[in-house]
Subunit: 333 residues, 2 copies
């Protein structure tokens, strides 16, 4: 658990895209981010108050969150001085970078000296159990995709927001680095040891109130040759009552796999539902989330309408239209 | 790669079952095991020459392989003195126990002092790549089960033996601890980090002659709530041309999951084939391997015949009948 609230560290981000972790926190958990820290040359701006370390601490910040990714996931030498000063002044640090805070001797020494915590959210900090497959109370919804990076996290976050707005009990459950930094906790599933993957998802989504929904962040795809095992562990560890199918309609091949076409939504529906029903025979596919960012408005609406007609399921782009109809479908279960 | 030949260490095994790793090596790679080392009170016997450490070294042994499992996978204090002496005399040590050789300070010190290697085959020693999904030359056969521990390893080893006997090019590819100790190398798949599972299977089964078959050791089951992600990585990393379905017909529930019934062979066939064809559209299910150890001869033969008729596929118990008909089916592809 990462202590809130946060100061978002944007470093010397060359553009807004490099700060997409900060953007995710800003978009989905704005109350947690009190300010931003930008170094000279920083081209990203979250439209939060610029704060010095002292101002952030005075405002109540507990953790400096690295909201920017350098090329190669490095911790830039230019950052080290700032991060050491943050530790000395009493802030924890959280990072989802490939290169770990704990591998930087200067940061380790400073954290130890000042009694602060370094959170490397890319690495599990929990000894997860082997999955038991035992049914749990409460309800769970999982987004499964035709490919990686088609909008599964966005969909689940948008559904959580809509459900909370309606007074429903809902919790987004993060399974990736960005999601963990947005919510302050979760399981970095792609870094979990094979035998414990499904168990880590059970651990993340425990017994709950009968009318509570976990919105589980999806990962990979059952059809992605590199990561399908991770997705499978989500389907069986998550015991979903409801599945949302996620798709990006303009992609010419699977992400990182030039020889592989994306599956049809029908194929995803059939395979995902068959596998989910192994652990939860009542599981249903309740809706479809399409990422139409690469289509013009008219083409997007046409695609959504045609897909809804073809598949017989509520089909929306939550970014253009909100997640209301997907939540209606959950609510109707 | 573990240096051969081996001295099989049986320790103070309370019975033959405790020495099942030694039994696997004795059954499947007998040429590699020159002798056995038994301590006082040992109740297991591989019917190999009993050797002292000096005799084993004189006979050419390079590695002492721990062929026995204590309760809880422990390295017994009673063993430590023998293992230290083995290192001092020039033997490496290989172990598949849960408790690691490298966590025993006395063994680590002795190995360092004498320049010997400690092989903990439960832990990966290779930095595996992310799977690329690129098609490889050569052919691959994977055994997939309705459950864990239904005879997948036995089936693949029996097929390899039959194929080598016929002069076919075939290699058993180990993905578990016992298989690795039998063959001297492989991938301990259940201990691999999630993101690299499928990549480790690609690494294990690289490009090969067009008429060469890899017999890939299966793990878990696509229908096992705890381990299905591991199985999925085998299906997508292995790119199988042929699948063998494995089943144990007397089991009342999935291993370790009292609430779960085993799937039907039809369900396994359909799900496994659908998923395998994502990476290899030409994949076929070629045969069925049934572990009938818990049935009397007559009931076993009846079950095999009925299953063959129902499924329309060669159906054998390789232990009772050999793997010949499964190899015929591969050969006919």
């Amino acid at each position: 658990m990462i202590s809130a609230p946060y100061l978002l560290f944007l470093g010397d981000a060359p553009d807004g895209l490099a700060a997409k972790v900060a953007q995710g926190i800003r978009d989905w958990n704005p109350d947690v981010a009190l300010g931003q820290f930008r170094m000279e040359g920083c081209k990203a701006d979250m439209r939060l108050p610029d704060m010095t370390l002292d101002e952030a601490i005075a405002a109540g910040c507990k953790t400096l969150v690295i909201g920017v990714a350098n090329r190669g996931g490095m911790i830039s030498p230019a950052w080290i001085a700032v991060l050491k000063e943050a530790l000395a002044k009493g802030l924890d640090i959280a990072s989802g970078l490939h290169n770990l805070l704990r591998d930087e001797p200067e940061l380790v020494a400073a954290a130890k000296e000042h009694g602060r915590t370094l959170h490397d959210v890319r690495i599990p900090s929990v000894k997860y159990p082997i999955a038991s497959g035992v049914r749990r109370t409460g309800k769970r919804c999982l987004a499964v995709g035709t490919d990686c990076s088609v909008g599964k996290m966005y969909t689940s976050l948008a559904m959580e927001r809509e459900m909370v707005k309606r007074g429903m009990k809902a919790t987004f459950r993060a399974t990736g680095q960005t999601g963990i930094l947005i919510t302050g906790n979760g399981v970095p599933l792609d870094a979990v040891i094979a035998d414990f993957m499904a168990g880590s998802v059970e651990w993340l989504t425990p017994d709950n109130d009968a009318d509570h929904w976990d919105l589980i962040e999806g990962q990979g795809s059952l059809f992605h040759a590199s990561y399908s095992g991770v997705t499978m562990a989500l389907v069986h560890g998550g015991q979903p009552d409801a599945l949302i199918l996620s798709h990006e309609p303009t992609r010419s091949h699977m992400r990182g796999l030039p020889d592989y076409k994306l599956p049809r939504l029908e194929d995803l529906r059939d395979v995902a539902l068959t596998l989910a029903r192994v652990v939860n025979p009542a599981c249903e596919v309740v809706g479809i989330s399409i990422n139409t960012a690469n289509l013009h408005e008219e083409a997007a609406l046409e695609y959504l309408e045609a897909t809804e007609k073809r598949m017989g399921l509520p089909t929306v782009d939550p970014f253009r239209q909100g997640a209301g109809r997907l939540v209606d479908a959950l609510d109707a279960l």
